[in-house]
């Protein structure tokens, strides 16, 4: 659960009089309009029903006639209401510092206020203080001033957990802290390094800020506009055995590419739900891909050095710096940078994903930030859950089960998107294809159709979707047959940046590679029938 402060620092504008709580743009989920009241200047009042309070608290307060935070304030601290006439920032002398390690012990100042509240509510002093503090917590988490210390004491949006006397430092890490600053499209575009390079004509200068992870198949990369984009949630869907895991493994290995070679120099985090990465076969595959990648970088480095020497350029030292082969790039280090979480059921998967921010923070602190998060696969455990048969009637009672699954998926998708932008990594999720019976208008018997699993709502939450399939063709007996046998098509069906299209690639023992050009030519001659 994230604390998103959905509005800026509350304005202490002396022009705001006659504040009608209905018109406050900042109040969260306002369900019923509160009665219009003339509130003192320099204060906000939120209807209590729109705060996330415990039902017992809410009923107790409502029953005693309090319907908004302004009511509480004016009942506890009527001095503030009158003091605000001079345009003073209220709260003088009521500085209630929660971090003092106090609760009741330190609030002799506030006792009066709580006593009045207790009298109005008809409950004990402790209970009243409890209610007030609860309201404070909720208000603070939305960046609003507290009822017990209004205005000026605590305007900055903070997560609620930092308020408690004994702060559990680990808790605060999981709440992603941010404030939204509005920006124009021009400023955002100006700050993107790639565009900056393009604008200044400096395309070849790729220093640290590559925004894509390449896949070693040029057709896929150009389909996606450079590769798998950082800060985005991409989905890969396809039939089993078509190469989804292979593509993800290639991406993890490629995320380690040095910046000089078009890479992002980052680690990878893998949520392995199906076991393909943790078994002996997965380890072998990663190893051979890592070796192939390191070899590729080595040969290209050597070739660059040779070219530089041959061209007899003056500043050969400058060339050497760019083509220097990084010594830290070994297959072992590549494999060490791939962190695999093997999750065996839905609970582990959910908990591990929600617990990732802490892990990612640690990686950043150690200087090896993660640049790609792979979830292989998103669908496996959810299909276990959603295909649960209800023991009740046959009549589609699965509905209530799938509603909560959909809700969870939407929340998780939102969380993943947040992770992607917060930690600047590419999130790649694998999905399955499932059969759905399409009702045909003409006949009753529905056609079977293969559609991506996980539902519509998930499909909206992802940024881009790639569908992978075997290349439809007949077995050729010519010499190019060995490579055609492993050709795949990769279709971009959903993307905000690029038009839809199809790319061809092959899977070799080195990993994902492009299709050799002679094979492409012969294929073009035969005009294969693609969907």
């Amino acid at each position: 659960m994230s604390h998103i402060s959905s509005k800026p620092h509350p304005e202490q504008d002396s022009d705001l009089v006659d504040l009608n709580p209905d018109e406050l743009p900042s109040s969260p989920v306002s369900s019923q309009p509160a009665p219009k009241q003339l509130y003192p200047k320099n204060s906000f009042s939120i209807p209590l029903v729109s705060l996330a309070l415990r039902p017992s608290t809410l009923t107790a307060l409502l029953r005693s006639g309090f319907s908004s935070t302004g009511d509480i304030m004016s009942s506890c601290w009527p001095e503030i209401a009158s003091a605000n006439e001079d345009g003073n920032d209220g709260g003088v002398g009521f500085a209630h510092d929660e971090n003092d390690g106090g609760g009741i012990a330190n609030t002799r100042i506030n006792n009066e206020g709580y006593e009045r509240l207790a009298k109005d509510l008809g409950c004990s002093l402790l209970q009243a203080a409890d209610y007030a503090l609860e309201i404070d917590d909720v208000l603070v988490s939305f960046g609003l001033p507290k009822v017990s210390a209004p205005a000026g004491q605590n305007g900055i949006a903070e997560s609620g957990s930092t308020d408690e006397p004994q702060t559990d430092s680990d808790d605060s890490v999981t709440a992603l802290n941010r404030s939204i600053i509005p920006a124009t499209a021009a400023t955002i575009l100006r700050s993107t390094p790639n565009v900056r390079n393009l604008l200044s004509g400096n395309i070849h200068n790729q220093t640290a800020n590559t925004r894509h992870i390449v896949s070693f198949s040029q057709s896929i990369d150009s389909l996606l506009g450079g590769g798998f984009a950082l800060s985005e949630l991409t989905e890969i869907v396809g039939l089993p055995g078509v190469g989804k895991t292979q593509l993800a493994m290639q991406l993890c290995v490629d995320s380690r590419l040095p910046a000089n070679y078009g890479g992002v120099e980052g680690c990878s985090v893998v949520i392995d739900a199906e076991g393909s990465w943790s078994g002996a076969a997965g380890g072998d595959r990663l190893w051979s891909m890592a070796i192939a990648m390191v070899d590729h970088v080595k040969t290209s480095a050597e070739r660059k050095i040779r070219l530089k020497k041959e061209s007899m350029h003056a500043n050969i030292n400058d060339g050497g710096r760019h083509v220097q082969f990084p010594s830290w790039l070994t297959p072992e280090s590549v494999l060490e940078g791939i962190h695999i979480f093997r999750v065996h059921d839905e609970t582990s998967q959910t908990c591990t994903i929600y617990n990732l921010p802490k892990f990612l923070f640690d990686l950043e602190r150690k200087g090896t930030p993660a640049k790609i998060l792979v979830i292989d696969s998103m669908a496996f455990h959810y299909r276990v859950a959603s295909s649960t048969p209800s023991s009740g009637t046959v009549n589609g009672k699965i509905k209530s089960n799938s509603l909560s699954t959909t809700h969870n998926l939407t929340r998780m998708a939102a969380f993943l998107t947040e992770l992607a932008s917060e930690f600047d990594l590419a999130v790649v999720a694998m999905n399955h294809l499932t059969t759905r019976i399409e009702k045909d208008d003409t006949n009753n018997q529905g056609r079977l159709k293969l559609v991506p699993a996980l539902g519509e709502s998930w499909a909206h939450s992802i940024t881009s979707r790639l569908m992978i399939d075997h290349h439809c063709h007949f077995e050729a007996t010519s010499s190019i047959a060995p490579c055609i046998g492993e050709m795949r098509t990769c279709t971009l069906v959903k993307s905000p940046h690029k038009p839809t299209g199809t790319a061809l690639f092959t899977i070799t023992d080195k990993g994902i590679r492009g299709v050799p050009s002679h094979a492409l030519q012969s294929q073009a001659a035969k005009r294969p029938k693609l969907s």
Partner: protein, 437 residues
């Protein structure tokens, strides 16, 4: 008929106390110290009595962690009223997340762990022994199949840690291959568990394969006939002592048997460890290295009639996922190979037409005339797939050699290899590769 979803899940009552410690802040905790244990009791009882209508009509209380995580936050606040405030609810949820999250391992660690579990040298690079393995086996993490080309494609043999599917028509040789794998596992120093759902397991045949294959390998070490016979007899004895057989018929029995497997595996592994510790001579008890399920299709097809009701397919898919989940976890936790035998159904042409052009080449048997049974759901569960078929090509000389005809093993789905066809025949020694004529 099949177990419900909640039985394998973690109960909230098993959450440790530290999740509840210092959960509450404010005056309530200072003056009236609420200790973690009583808070936990309160929360548990509130959850147990919760009317959770979003869990489905068959569930009436929230008792597992998965259910708690499915509750939307405002509902959780309402259910736990007045134990926790909103902020405290969030803190509880994030602590549950932290508690149930798994620990990561780097890929390098996993590779080394597989090799260490097989007693290999974990400092050697994995590709040093990736090429063809000797018939006795010995590549860390792999169980050789006995067909050299197949083994070299698979980098040594059937990998541990994932599910391998053997699929083919009746009489193609699936059970034979499964039995041969059990023998190979024993030669590599591991025991096997055979879950026999078709009553096709033949102990006689198993022993025969064991005798033949161990005679083959001991030809290198000794020339004396009696020594060889004694050695192979000894080996066959050891093999049979280390293979357990579970016979069953229904899918319910299958799930029950799989649930109990973990206990058996741990018991056998610990016995093997003790014996190795006591004397360094070859021990009689071997750790479990292989599970064979022969077959998964028989009980499921028996119990779930597809087409009888609209939800039969969903129920079968659910059962498949349950089985796959258990098998994968066993494979990963105990570093063993899991081989599952599947049958075929003749829905080839209809299947293709209905789904349009989206054909799955990894499933085509006899060029698409047949397709593996159990539908789309099962396809995602197997990491490696080997199709066994008869080779009907009239150009190949179909001689009756040792009572078998030429067949083909096609490796169609694998992380480490592309699609490969390996012709073989069935002999007394088991499966033997033939070179294409």
């Amino acid at each position: 008929m099949v177990t419900n979803d909640g039985s394998n899940d973690r109960l909230i009552s098993n959450l440790p106390l530290r999740v509840f410690v210092k959960l509450i802040s404010g005056p309530r905790s200072i003056v009236n110290p609420i200790d973690a244990a009583s808070l936990r009791e309160k929360i548990l009882s509130k959850l147990a009595g919760a009317h959770a209508d979003f869990l489905g009509p068959s569930r009436s209380s929230v008792s597992t962690i998965r259910d708690v995580l499915r509750i939307p936050p405002p509902s959780l606040l309402r259910i736990l009223d007045p134990c926790l405030t909103h902020a405290e609810c969030e803190r509880l949820i994030s602590r549950i997340h932290r508690e149930c999250a798994v620990k990561p391992h780097s890929a390098l660690e996993l590779v080394r762990r597989t090799r260490a579990a097989f007693g290999g040298d974990d400092r050697r690079t994995p590709d040093a022994d990736a090429i063809s393995s000797p018939p006795g086996g010995g590549v860390a993490g792999k169980i050789p199949t006995g067909l050299p080309t197949l083994d070299s494609c698979l980098r040594g043999g059937i990998p541990v840690g994932s599910i391998v599917e053997l699929v083919g028509r009746a009489g193609a040789g699936k059970t034979h291959m499964a039995q041969q794998l059990a023998v190979s596992a024993a030669m590599a120093g591991g025991g096997a568990i055979y879950v026999d759902a078709e009553k096709k397991m033949s102990l006689h045949r198993l022993r025969e394969i064991a005798l033949e294959r161990s005679t083959m390998t001991s030809l290198d070490t000794t020339n004396r006939e009696e020594d060889r016979l004694r050695h192979s007899d000894d080996f066959a004895q050891r093999l049979l002592e280390n293979v357990t057989i579970h016979s069953l018929l229904t899918s319910r029995e299958l799930l029950d048997a799989l649930d109990k497997l973990e206990g058996e595996i741990m018991l056998r592994n610990s016995e093997a460890r003790e014996q190795v510790g006591m004397n360094n001579v070859s021990s009689r008890r071997l750790p479990v290295r292989l599970i064979v399920v022969d077959s998964i299709a028989a009980p499921l097809r028996r119990d779930f009639e597809i087409g009888s009701s609209p939800h039969a397919a969903a129920r079968r898919a659910f059962a498949i996922f349950q089985i796959a989940k258990i098998l994968k976890r066993l494979a990963h936790d105990h570093q063993l190979a899991v081989v599952v035998v599947n049958q075929v159904g003749s829905g080839g042409h209809n299947y293709r037409e209905n789904v349009g052009y989206l054909r799955n080449r990894t499933l085509d048997i006899n060029d698409g005339e047949f397709t593996a049974s159990l539908g789309t759901a099962w396809q995602y569960c197997a990491t490696t797939r080997i199709i066994l078929e008869h080779k009907d090509d009239p150009h190949i000389l179909q001689g009756e050699r040792d009572g078998g005809s030429i067949r083909v093993a096609i490796l169609t789905k694998s992380l480490v290899s592309k699609r490969t066809k390996i012709p073989f025949e069935l002999t007394r020694q088991g499966l033997r590769e033939v070179s294409p004529a």
